[in-house]
């Protein structure tokens, strides 16, 4: 498995400058996502989280890079692997962990679960568990921004495996023809569930090598470098806001854990995980910050603070009751009911 993704980069380096504040924010975000996902993992082991769950461990730089670059009124559309993206928009950690644990305080009151995290108040417009479905939905949100001239951008995250389903193709074509302000972000972590993406895809870069089919640029970036993600995000979102149309960005990354809770990840070749652990986005970013002159103490403080928040959220979620059964019969319809008959 080739981890030397830099070599494949073809997009010209973005010219955006990253300030100190932004760097701190990028680090803080990554820490929160990492710690929160690790906590989710611990909570499984304690059987406090039921059902399935798909962690983003190792992929945090993408969520953080975009999360920091987005405006508050931009929209995120993500998949079942959506905890990080939802948190990156500022959704409450208690709400996320609570939802995973099926508690009343959960973002969805326990009705949606791990695969459907949504916080409309933060622009987190849903996590979609059917592969491909949310690409056209994101295009639709972008259409509405374009229609209203609101300069909002829709950002849609999905995996490498998702590039082989029909909805990907339809959404990309329509977005390109209508010049919609939508950024499609393929998090290429080299695997669909357990099958290597290269075994089932006709091109090497499942997203980028298809950009030309929609008249778009070929863009491959290092998804483990939060700065690179941030710059790319800012550049293409800016273009989209100004009417320049969509972009399709392929961010190379790797998930440290299995596909989902049930998966020990045994199908990965010897040494592959280890190689990628050397490129851990958070460790890399920490080193960079130190090189750039940030104080070790500042970073330690940030780390402690992120951990404190996760602890606090964990306790709050644990303390939350399970949802009342009355919730079952609410909210199929906008009038709050579930009635199909009179």
């Amino acid at each position: 498995m080739d981890t030397n993704v830099k070599r494949k980069k073809t997009a010209a380096p973005p010219e955006i400058e990253i300030g100190q504040e932004t760097r701190m924010e990028l680090y803080r975000q990554q820490l929160e996502l990492r710690y929160c996902e690790k906590r989710a993992y611990d909570l499984f082991l304690q059987n406090l989280i039921k059902g399935t769950s798909h962690l983003s461990l190792g992929q945090e730089a993408i969520a953080a890079g975009f999360g920091v670059a987005m405006r508050p009124d931009d929209w995120t559309f993500c998949t079942y692997r959506g905890h990080a993206h939802t948190l990156a928009r500022g959704a409450s950690m208690t709400g996320v962990l609570g939802e995973l644990m099926g508690r009343e305080c959960g973002l969805l009151g326990g009705k949606g679960g791990s695969m459907h995290l949504t916080d409309v108040s933060k622009g987190a417009m849903g996590s979609y568990a059917i592969i491909g479905a949310h690409l056209p939905v994101a295009a639709g949100a972008a259409w509405s921004a374009q229609y209203r001239g609101s300069e909002q951008v829709a950002v849609c995250f999905f995996g490498d495996g998702t590039t082989n389903i029909g909805a990907f193709h339809e959404a990309l074509n329509m977005s390109a023809v209508w010049k919609l302000p939508v950024i499609f972000v393929c998090e290429n972590n080299l695997y669909m569930e357990y099958t290597p993406i290269k075994d089932v895809t006709a091109v090497e870069h499942p997203a980028a090598d298809r950009a030309s089919a929609y008249g778009l640029e070929r863009i491959v970036i290092d998804g483990n470098d939060a700065d690179e993600v941030y710059k790319t995000a800012a550049k293409y979102m800016d273009r989209a806001r100004k009417g320049g149309g969509p972009a399709l960005i392929e961010a190379m990354t790797y998930r440290h854990s299995g596909h989902s809770r049930a998966d020990p990840g045994k199908y990965r070749p010897e040494g592959e995980l280890e190689k990628w652990l050397e490129r851990d986005p958070i460790n890399m970013y920490r080193s960079r910050l130190l090189e750039l002159g940030f104080a070790e103490a500042t970073l330690k403080d940030m780390e402690a603070e992120a951990m404190r928040q996760v602890d606090e959220a964990t306790e709050a979620a644990k303390a939350s009751p399970v949802p009342s059964l009355a919730a079952i019969d609410k909210d199929v319809w906008a009038d709050g009911s579930t009635a199909w008959r009179n």
């Binding site: 009705k111 459907h116 417009m125 849903g126 056209p136 939905v137 639709g140 972008a142 074509n173 009179n342």
Partner: protein
């Protein structure tokens, strides 16, 4: 009252709502410049421009996905799926996304959108362009399902669907597009979830939908005149919400229930109504519940075969007469 065709009532309903609410947008294949393959949307592009009336590629998933994304961010889209059979290519967006999103998000996201589609048989188009699939939709919790039989209902129910805060699947009956009927002048908005009793009888109750309403009315006349059987005819109009009050009360009055469906037999909406009646009107029913449906087969295309497959006036008359003996 103006006389309009069923097809023109579609355009009239859309125009009425686009005029009053600029959040209403309309998208689909060949709906704009061409005015729709059934000419049901002629004039809308000219009136509202290409920003609000958008011709799309042949990408049904993208069409409905776009409608959904637009609806959750403040627009009120109307999407056309040209033939209802094609709902199969975008069924995920209907059944898994649009229908479930409000509930899954605990009410955070509402989806005020309408999916219009041409439904049903009678045009000799064959098995992939003639299906009556309203029960595909009825089966899925989270979408409202409407199927008008008259031009006035087309306009009024379409307007109501567009104003409704929930997703509505609106089935237009292909074979009725050229039918004419009175449509109220000026703004006309009906109410979803109300059945209508079109004929009051004393011997049996016929519950029908869309084109089967007309056939049932014709059958009821013949049954009355030629066989002295007096039928109530209920036009269901809306499968979800379902007006069980009206339906059950009309069944109760006659003690006999016949459902007339265009769709193939298994798991049709008639089965649902029969099961409700068999639970809730059991003690007032005087005889078995009879469902008249298309046989459980794909639809053949040759005219003679198609006509013999869909319930006909003759068949309705015959079945009711035999069973009422």
């Amino acid at each position: 009252m103006a006389e309009l065709t069923y097809r023109d009532a579609v355009a009239a309903g859309i125009a009425q709502e686009m005029e009053r609410d600029e959040r209403v947008v309309f998208l689909g294949e060949d709906i704009g410049a061409a005015g729709g393959v059934f000419k049901a949307t002629v004039g809308l592009l000219e009136k509202f421009g290409p920003k609000r009336v958008r011709d799309t590629p042949i990408s049904e998933q993208a069409i409905l996905g776009a409608a959904m994304g637009a609806a959750m961010t403040g627009l009120r889209p109307i999407a056309e799926i040209m033939f209802s059979d094609f709902l199969a290519v975008c069924w995920d967006i209907v059944a898994n996304e649009i229908a479930k999103t409000r509930y899954m998000t605990n009410g955070q996201i509402s989806l005020p959108l309408v999916i219009r589609t041409a439904n049903g048989a009678g045009s000799r188009f064959g098995a992939q362009h003639s299906q009556a699939v309203e029960n595909w939709a009825m089966m899925i919790p989270g979408i409202k399902v409407v199927a008008p039989a008259f031009p006035a209902d087309v306009k009024g129910l379409l307007a109501a669907a567009i104003r409704d805060p929930d997703p509505v699947l609106f089935f237009e009956q292909k074979s009725l597009y050229s039918m004419k009927g009175e449509v109220p002048d000026g703004e006309h908005v009906d109410e979803l979830g109300k059945a209508r009793v079109l004929r009051h009888g004393s011997d049996c109750t016929i519950v029908a939908l869309a084109s089967m309403v007309h056939k049932s009315l014709d059958a009821a006349s013949i049954l009355e005149k030629e066989h002295g059987i007096s039928c109530t005819v209920v036009d269901v109009r809306s499968l979800v919400p379902l007006d069980t009050q009206t339906i059950l009360s009309e069944i109760g009055k006659t003690g006999r229930l016949f459902t007339v469906e265009e769709n193939p037999r298994l798991c049709g909406w008639g089965a649902e109504i029969a099961s409700i009646a068999a639970e809730e009107c059991f003690w007032t029913l005087d005889a078995p519940i009879i469902r008249i449906t298309t046989p459980h087969i794909p639809l053949p295309s040759a005219d003679k075969l198609e006509d013999a497959t869909i319930p006909s006036v003759e068949r309705i008359v015959r079945e009711i007469r035999e069973k009422m003996d």
